[in-house]
Symmetry: C2
Subunit: 333 residues, 2 copies
């Protein structure tokens, strides 16, 4: 079924209010989760909403908590999320980073005790919409073994780099695992192999068989050993700069993932480089990339962020693609 953004948003908003969120918070969370689906990130939009409500019921997410600034120095701010709504906390943190960047050129917010921020790219977009370049990353529960290991002690810690552009922001939003378990499960259901190595099988051999990886729990870091090392450093940055939980500590908390640590950077680059010059350089990079000669197996070449813009146009015109079972579960909440 395809539903209008406003309907989706209104429904989720009312459910959040019923579950203890203020009008303002419910409106914001429903808006961003609706927007995630609108822009094609279905996994972290409507499809994840029932889990958020469950997390509120379980007491893992406190809908009444407000983020609190607990330390400041120059362009940096440290925030305690008090286990509140992940979207509210993350939005607040990037807003603080943007405010700091107005004064100091660059701003950093380190956020501890927060919850899942849904779509990582949201906060990169937020910086771009304020005319700034953004970087943000989060840690997660342990869900990926380090290179050469069997047991999962790393998170898949997504990172975002976002640069503003009139014709559509440039955004990469990359988890440090090559595939999520969600993607593996979907492929399993559809009887598909993954297009590239997805992890190790029980014998320790690289495999594209999703079922083998789901069973071994040995999902593959993005870029093999490189993503393992990168994931580790992102965890150390996020946890040590915020004084929050690292991946290991998150793994010791009972229940669904909560209490994660995040970093938000806003870069007011227009204070350094004339805006038209920066724009020309970025535009030139996009044109050059899109002029690539495609191989026979490729439908087309895209730039990072292009598909979100296209999904948005399509979903605005035709309604958001929603799974009926997902929607009927939401209506029962």
């Amino acid at each position: 079924m395809r539903l209008a953004f406003e309907e989706v948003k209104k429904t989720m908003q009312e459910i959040l209010i019923k579950h203890g969120c203020s009008q303002e918070k419910a409106e914001k969370v429903a808006h961003e989760m609706g927007r995630n689906s609108l822009e094609g990130t279905y996994t972290h939009g409507i499809n994840r909403f029932a889990r958020l409500v469950r997390n509120i019921e379980e007491g893992i997410v406190n809908p009444e908590a407000d983020p609190e600034t607990i330390a400041e120095f120059g362009g940096m701010v440290r925030i305690d999320g008090h286990l509140g709504l992940g979207v509210i906390n993350a939005w607040y943190a990037m807003e603080q980073a943007i405010e700091k960047a107005k004064l100091h050129g660059i701003g950093l917010a380190a956020l501890k005790n927060t919850n899942h921020w849904m779509r990582a790219a949201t906060y990169g977009c937020q910086a771009c919409d304020a005319g700034m370049a953004g970087i943000c990353f989060t840690n997660t529960i342990p869900n990926m073994p380090t290179w050469g290991a069997i047991d999962s002690r790393l998170g898949n810690n997504p990172i975002v780099f976002a640069f503003p552009r009139k014709g559509g922001h440039l955004i990469v939003d990359a988890a440090m695992s090559q595939f999520s378990y969600g993607a593996l499960e979907l492929a399993c259901l559809q009887g598909r192999k993954m297009p590239v190595d997805a992890g190790f099988d029980a014998e320790g051999n690289l495999t594209r068989e999703p079922e083998a990886v789901i069973q071994s729990r040995r999902i593959l870091p993005t870029g093999y050993w490189k993503g393992a090392a990168m994931s580790f450093l992102l965890d150390v940055f996020a946890s040590a700069c915020s004084g929050g939980n690292n991946v290991c500590q998150i793994g010791k908390l009972e229940g669904d993932e909560h209490g994660v640590s995040q970093i938000f950077l806003a870069i007011n680059y227009k204070a350094l480089v004339p805006e038209a010059e920066a724009e020309r350089i970025a535009e030139d990079a996009v044109s050059d990339l899109l002029a690539s000669q495609k191989d026979d197996k490729t439908h087309r070449i895209t730039y990072a962020g292009q598909k979100a813009g296209e999904a948005k146009k399509d979903n605005q015109a035709n309604g958001i693609l929603v799974d009926e079972r997902v929607w009927s579960e939401i209506l029962s909440l």
Copy 2:
């Protein structure tokens, strides 16, 4: 052969002075290139020295140029490298970022018109030695196709995340190509396959055969489509924030790679979090990672940065491993 660090450094220093470098610049460049080999990054130490001297002779690297601050705002600084020595410019830029971070908590230096910085991790270490966390990245000549493309329009743009630690800094230094052409050529010579996918063959199939990739020039981005998108964003950040060349423009310059753009970030996290607390969190992450259960095929589990420390100890005790042909070429310069 194995040579003492001091001998290696002195020899390179004298050659640089003969080629127009000041005493001070020659000392610094020789020190860092020697240190790269000392710490196990042989490709960007002694092995690359003859190429640097050639670049000076060709006029691509101007040994007399000094980096110049051309714009400043709050914690940010924009620097023109005037095509000087890459190591001198990059060191200066990270120093500026560190100085800014002392005042503003976080500092960013955007450097344009610079040359190859040799080992990316050098500047992450530099931030760590100043008690700060560091991030830096560079763009390069076009040397990698984007996802689905045949021709190379992306750079392999390495990025570094570095966090200080008493027992050895935590550092990831990852290029956005899974392997360098240097690594593929070495494997070819040794008749080895690569351990994982290295690129596409002429028919557009993923392959571990180094020769097939060298011939197709279709090297693989780190994490397939993810590294392609990440590389693109790193290029846009580095070029647009510095007002410097993007990868496309670098590709249009005649001769060996020059005129690249770089970003340096220093994070004075101790101004936000008590030092002992940050230290405990990072140390806890290291211990947990090292407690991973290794698989049968793995010799051991290491943390990011560990091997550099071990190479240093070994090379300090026994001398730096130097290829005799490389050394005799250097002695003839």
